[in-house]
Symmetry: C2
Subunit: 394 residues, 2 copies
């Protein structure tokens, strides 16, 4: 079942608009969708966008997997329900490495999200009320299973490549392990095989901040007036993440010890002047509140903490032995959240099994976010990698 965009933006949408058009696929209508947790969901909707055309052999499909607060809008301008331009505009488009003239490119909002796919803010079929606190824990594998349903719906028997950074890379790895025969190559970027204690620590602290916000209301805040939700808690959680997404050097270069000229929020005496770096973080916090649902932030964060390709598969080695397709892994030297040793471990695990594996490192001071900021550094190897896969025998 495909429906059209329920959030049309006023203004003419042109057929062939390079931004694509957000579409919706709903499944688990007759039979409920079973999750890793044991819970089940009915009427699961996945919002997605596509660019380019699936060839007759169904062999040129590329799946892009987005990160924590990303969505299906990987490429294209802002508008049509998207406040921001595509998150990988530098990489996805005609003539770009993920070439929409050559490949059929798909990007779906993850299960648990809030950009059109079923998540905590969605209405539960049983009572027509938002799930809220009733939304079950989802895992990266659940997200991938939902994407697999979408792939079937789109007629993609095998993805030419599954590509993603950060949480998107977790999905790419799970695709390789769960569906090795449906994936011809994977490109995990700035990601890991198992969430580390430090990643869990940051995630868990952020969740505590959201729950501390009295306006979170135990997760059932959807009847609150606009602006009366857990915005302060969500902002704090995002600010924690934002620092881990960047680097000491970049924050120093950009903000140093400059003052913002504003008093620090909550300072009664008005004597605690805010630093520019605090204003920057506050800006990012405010921005996420406008575009993202706090419960989705909780659910997706927990899914990342639960990420472990070894879970239920004997060992990490046994899990990674399922990865039989060419792999291009990318690290970022300044990434303090997913340090490069984690991507080197992926590369080594694949290579150890005699499977073609490449490792590339983005030489950027921008930390974890460099896969979005300096994607151009992997343009040439990614273009070559995908070109080789597209030419390989199916």
């Amino acid at each position: 079942m495909t429906t059209t965009d329920p959030f049309p933006v006023t203004g003419a949408w042109m057929p062939g608009d390079p931004a694509g058009q957000r579409q919706f696929f709903t499944f688990a209508i007759d039979r409920r969708f079973a999750l890793d947790s044991g819970a089940t969901l009915a009427d699961v909707t996945i919002a997605y966008e596509t660019w380019g055309t699936l060839d007759a052999a169904g062999a040129n499909a590329v799946l892009l997997c987005h990160a924590w607060t990303g969505d299906s809008h990987a490429a294209g301008p802002a508008g049509r329900g998207h406040g921001d331009a595509g998150w990988w505009n530098s990489m996805v488009g005609p003539g770009l490495p993920i070439d929409t003239d050559r490949y059929f490119v798909v990007c779906a909002n993850v299960l648990g999200g809030c950009q059109g796919s079923t998540g905590p803010a969605s209405l539960c079929r049983d009572d027509g009320m938002p799930y809220g606190s009733r939304f079950p824990v989802v895992t990266i594998r659940d997200m991938v299973r939902a994407q697999a349903r979408l792939g079937e719906h789109l007629g993609v028997a095998r993805w030419m490549s599954v590509i993603g950074g950060s949480m998107g890379g977790m999905q790419a790895l799970e695709w390789a392990v769960m569906y090795p025969r449906r994936v011809r190559s994977v490109v995990p970027i700035a990601t890991c095989m198992q969430a580390t204690a430090q990643q869990i620590a940051w995630g868990g602290i952020g969740r505590q901040a959201i729950r501390l916000d009295p306006k979170w209301r135990g997760g059932d805040y959807y009847e609150a007036e606009p602006g009366d939700g857990p915005g302060v808690g969500l902002s704090i959680a995002r600010q924690i993440a934002q620092v881990t997404f960047r680097s000491d050097n970049v924050l120093t270069d950009r903000f140093g010890r400059d003052f913002s000229g504003r008093p620090e929020v909550g300072d009664i005496l008005g004597m605690w002047q805010q630093y520019e770096v605090e204003r920057y973080l506050e800006h990012h916090g405010t921005k996420i509140v406008r575009r993202f649902d706090a419960n989705s932030y909780l659910a997706i964060g927990k899914a990342m903490d639960l990420h472990d390709v070894a879970r239920g598969r004997g060992s990490l080695e046994q899990a990674m032995a399922r990865v039989r397709m060419p792999t291009m892994t990318v690290g970022i030297w300044s990434d303090m959240l997913y340090p490069v040793y984690q991507q080197q471990q992926i590369h080594d695990a694949v290579k150890r099994n005699g499977v073609p594996s490449e490792y590339h490192e983005i030489n950027s001071p921008h930390g974890h976010d460099a896969f979005l900021i300096n994607g151009d550094q992997i343009a040439e190897p990614l273009d070559r990698f995908l070109g080789n896969i597209s030419k390989s025998v199916l």
Copy 2:
């Protein structure tokens, strides 16, 4: 004016107890104490402990400066109002590098603190009520000025050495710059000349978490029932700091992806099992709430963010040109909060002026906290450094 400990612990205190005895010095009784902010305080009390004996020449005095949530109890067992054993027991005592048989060792709780020195929880002379939200911003320099008054009170004309890690190192540096003729040597450890944007970022986010707690009550929560203060917010702030005090590797080695066997706090479905690293952080959060005042946490954190030896002194070079005494700077290779380049900058700034300067690095995976955990690694150089200073001509 010296008073005795108002919080005696039941049990016999033995004269000569190596824990020392917490004492209290109060100044600014007749004339108010002016702060950097322009505000003034009356009846400023500083809680302190001493070990050893000041020699006849007044030449063997060592000042220890504690870190964020530390206090005057640098050495000795728990008890006598101290829930924990001395924070530098491995370094301070008879026959140890900071040898209490040879040196007269002093450690004072900082201005703004909550372990006996005047801070937000203290009673304001004007109305006999806790300062709460009325407590002014204090700076590292204000803390040092209060310590200078204490030094005069104790008859210490010149400190043989001023030693401290983290915020304690900020104080040591300010001592060197503010009172170069009252300090014969300084030992700044795991610290910096100017708080960086990243340090400010972490500090500012933690403060937001405290303020989000509705039980913070704008800073005026001292009339609340015990346990009804801003404990959740303070716990979150502390957990953020705790992650930055450690390292990715150590968290992985110690906790990995182990589950704690408990549900995640605030999880309505009881399906979000807590990870062991989350339980560890929660433990540290709970511990700080029992022993530390949230407003002191705010005040001291802001003092660190404001730390800048260059402020009002023309330039960093001009400020550091005042450091004319031998300096032993210590870094920790795994410190992500105060990376070693910051200590190397101190060393270089001192050396550049032709002043004797040593740099030592603690080879520990434990991150920032290694100055407490692996202090023994600098035992030998510190012993030698202090021995040389003690033998030098006054």
